[in-house]
Amino acid sequence: MTSTDKIEQRVYLAATPERVWRALTDANEFGTWFASELEAPFAEGRTVSMTCLGERFAIDIVEMTPPRRLVWRWHPGWVDHSLDYSKEPKTTTVFDLVPHADGTMLTVTETGFDAINAARRPSVFRDNVNGWLEQAASLRKYLESAG
């Protein structure tokens, strides 16, 4: 596995694993921090459609082990209607929750970028980033209005 195959990030959250689990898996709460709208609640084995800035994404929920582990697979780029996604590799994202002090240590790992060929990679990353920036702006608005 190369350094460009994997993204891993860890954050301490001053909240119980149960509370974090709810934020990760409740459709409304997830929509809040991911700045998107889920068409159905997450369920193991289900492919959930997510709408984000008018584009639809499919998230395959691979594993749900409350309140410890959430695993999904998806196409990590902005939707490109010229691509045949059935032939495209997906990345795997793992949310790992471990009780830590009075809170939760959350580790998020996304792997599989190497399988997306070098040619596509630049566009995938660029598109993702632009999408996230707009998401961040809409979320900030939501948080400010929610107080």
Binding site: Q9, A15, V20, W33, R120, V129
Partner: protein, 107 residues
């Protein structure tokens, strides 16, 4: 859209086993001449040249003249961009987790 057309061109360019092999070989070696790329591969120099032109058109490889020889390499700008974009994708996850932290610690 132009970006989509470019991406489609890249996919078309890579949708051929021989061209994909050329890209992989250049990724391993850094650079290579047409002789290097055709030797032992069971393909003619003409076929290699034709494939390289398609890859060049898609912005995947670059050819330069060194003396009398045409030397080929992956497009360095494209690769540099990939690295920078990867860093930015990491930053996107950091942002998301920061928002998650805000949400679960608010109560």
């Amino acid at each position: 859209m132009k970006a989509q057309a470019e991406r489609a061109a890249r996919f078309a360019a890579l949708g051929d086993p021989q061209r994909l092999r050329l890209v992989e070989t250049l990724a391993e070696r850094g650079e290579a001449s047409i002789s290097d790329l055709s030797s032992g591969a069971g393909v003619t120099r003409q076929a290699v040249t034709r494939h390289l032109k398609v890859l060049e058109g898609a912005g995947l490889v670059q050819g330069t003249m060194r003396g009398r020889e045409h030397v080929w390499a992956l497009d360095a700008d494209g690769l540099a961009t990939a690295e920078a974009e990867f860093e930015r994708l990491k930053a996107a996850w950091r942002q998301r987790l920061a928002r998650l932290k805000l949400l679960v610690e608010r109560e």
